[in-house]
Amino acid sequence: MAEKIDILGAAGAIAKGLGVTFKEMMSPTVTENYPDEPPKFEERFRGSHILQRDENGMEKCVACFLCAAACPADCIYIEAAENTETTRISGGERYAKVYNIDYNRCIFCGYCVEACPTDAITHGHGFELASYNTSTLIKRKEDMLAPVPPGAHAPVIAAEEAAAH
């Protein structure tokens, strides 16, 4: 044999390596049991979007289109409409009649959240978006709106009530 292997040294190195293995055997596991236990997120985690409401249940979005302009993936589609006497959806002059986010395209970069001047769009912690059908990945406004805070009326219902009276 051309080169002689230092048998003692080799055995020592293997013992050292196995020492690491035994040490790790005793230490607690770091694995997260994801589907059985909820995963842990940092506060800033950028998950699926939530459209916020103010304390009166009005939508915060005033249809200024800044999020759509900031989006590098062009995944936000908005149609604006004016608030009237009978239909008041948002706190501002206009509201988003249609607000779609195409999650086929969204890259979760957070530029829309940065751009929004009224804090209407935020990133939630939702992440289980996988689907067998891509058409279900286009989320509409109703899918993303935050729930109406307790004690407040949802604006659409308020408008319908006004029409009924």
């Binding site: 292997i5 040294g9 080799a10 020592g12 190195a13 293997i14 050292k16 390596g17 020492g19 690491v20 293995t21 790790e24 770091v30 997120f41 940092e42 506060e43 800033r44 985690f45 950028r46 800044l66 302009a69 900031a70 590098p72 890259i107 979760f108 970069c109 957070g110 530029y111 940065e114 751009a115 001047p117 990133h123």
Partner: protein, 410 residues
């Protein structure tokens, strides 16, 4: 005869070749694009003479995403999100290089806290990238457990990135003019607890590998390539440093106040897979040193530049002051104009010399963004490195290059 620069002709050439008198013929082996050791979609056409590699041609381009072209239709700030996706194992290095290039064109002054934060996070990126490399390189050669331990620490780093930016990998945390968000509450504690434990973890990897006879047998003396050839082919980074040339952009052309940090550029002279392993392990230790210095000496102050026409205003100001709101609308809708000119910015990414060449025609979108990516340069060394060695050593050799195909094809 055929043009040997086109991959695939190696096949035709081998078939044309007359049979040897002994009845032997050279065999062409398609390694990849789905071979586990290529860590991506690299195809190697290997002509074999028995077990010896006679010829090797890498075929790249399977992961071409057109990012360079795509940058031209995005505003300067939007293009930051694309740079994340070039080298997806070191997104913050790419963010940094692009931002530095555009900031040079804009002649922006970045406040010290942002600069030091950038140093700290790019060094964490280096650790992240080297950990992925070490884990996958070891698993290619047959050491399974190293992979598990490396990814355990990598997970910690990714959680730190998530804490800062909100995303584990595609962070987009560095923006033109500073940082995207204020550093989160309690980041010092998180980074300190990681840095305190990490050196002992490097010792663990070394205990598993450094003196292990199998590891030494598989790596020592394998993958040699002369230094002159490396320089001719444009190889940079740890590969070059393992050949004895202490070339490091952090020392040679300091950026983001790297000149204020005390660290060494590790070198080896053996120029084999084992030396590259040693260089990267030592680099991890040096990175830990830099992160500790950044932690202890982090200057206070603003985290983005004072440039209202480029940087988005503070959210509080935007909601209360009309002028800030107008700037906010202007920057978001049309971006900012960058003075005409061209710039080339080099940084030291975990894989080597990363350069961004940005040309501006005075509009709000870049005229051209070219990336000089280290993976592309380093991959050129593969044929020279593997020709004449055993097929089993090809795995170890290409592992030691540490390429990311997204980086090379972009």
């Amino acid at each position: 005869m055929s043009d040997s620069s086109v991959p695939g002709n190696i096949l035709a050439e081998a078939e044309e070749e007359p049979q040897q008198p002994g009845g032997t013929r050279r065999m062409v082996l398609n390694m990849g694009p789905q071979h586990p050791s290529t860590h991506g979609v690299l195809r190697l056409l290997i002509e074999l003479d028995g077990e010896i590699v006679a010829k090797c041609e890498p075929d790249i381009g399977f992961l071409h995403t057109g990012i360079e072209k795509e940058c031209e239709v995005k505003t300067y700030q939007q293009a930051v999100t694309l740079t994340d996706r070039v080298d997806y194992l070191a997104p913050l290095s790419n963010n940094l290089c692009y931002c530095l290039a555009v900031e040079k064109l804009l002649q922006l002054e970045i406040p010290p806290q942002a600069q030091w934060m950038r140093v700290m996070l790019t060094e964490l990126t280096r650790l992240n990238s080297h950990l992925v490399w070490l884990g996958t390189h070891a698993i290619d050669i047959g050491a399974m457990s190293v992979f598990l331990y490396c990814f355990r620490e990598r997970e910690e780093i990714l959680k730190i990135f998530e804490m800062f930016s909100g995303q584990r990998m595609m962070t987009s945390y560095f923006r033109i003019g500073g940082l995207a968000l204020e550093p989160p509450r309690g980041w010092q504690k998180r980074v300190t607890s990681f840095i305190d434990i990490f050196p002992s973890r490097i010792d663990e990897y070394e205990n598993l590998l450094t003196n292990n006879q199998i590891w030494i047998g598989r790596t020592r003396g394998v993958g040699f390539i002369p230094l002159e050839d490396m320089l001719d082919l444009g190889v940079t980074g740890p590969m070059l440093r393992a050949a004895g040339l202490a070339m490091d952009a952090r020392k040679d052309a300091p950026y983001t106040s790297y000149e204020k940090f005390d660290f060494e550029v590790p070198t080896r002279t053996e120029n084999d897979v084992y030396a590259r392993y040693q260089v990267r392990i030592e680099e991890m230790r040096q990175s830990t040193r830099i992160i500790r210095q950044a932690l202890e000496g982090m200057p206070a102050g603003p985290w983005k530049a004072d440039a209202p026409h480029v940087v988005l205003p503070d959210r509080e100001k935007m909601k209360t002051q009309m002028e800030a709101l107008i700037y906010h609308f202007k920057i978001v809708t049309e971006g900012f104009r960058v003075p005409e000119g061209e710039v080339y910015q080099v940084i030291e990414s975990p894989r080597g010399e990363l350069g961004y060449y940005v040309v501006s025609d005075g509009t709000t979108r870049p005229y051209r963004v070219h990336m000089r990516t280290p993976s592309f340069g380093n991959l050129q060394a593969v044929p020279k490195m593997v020709e004449g060695i055993l097929i089993a050593d090809v795995i170890a050799s290409i592992g030691s290059v540490d390429f990311v195909l997204g980086d090379s094809d972009r």
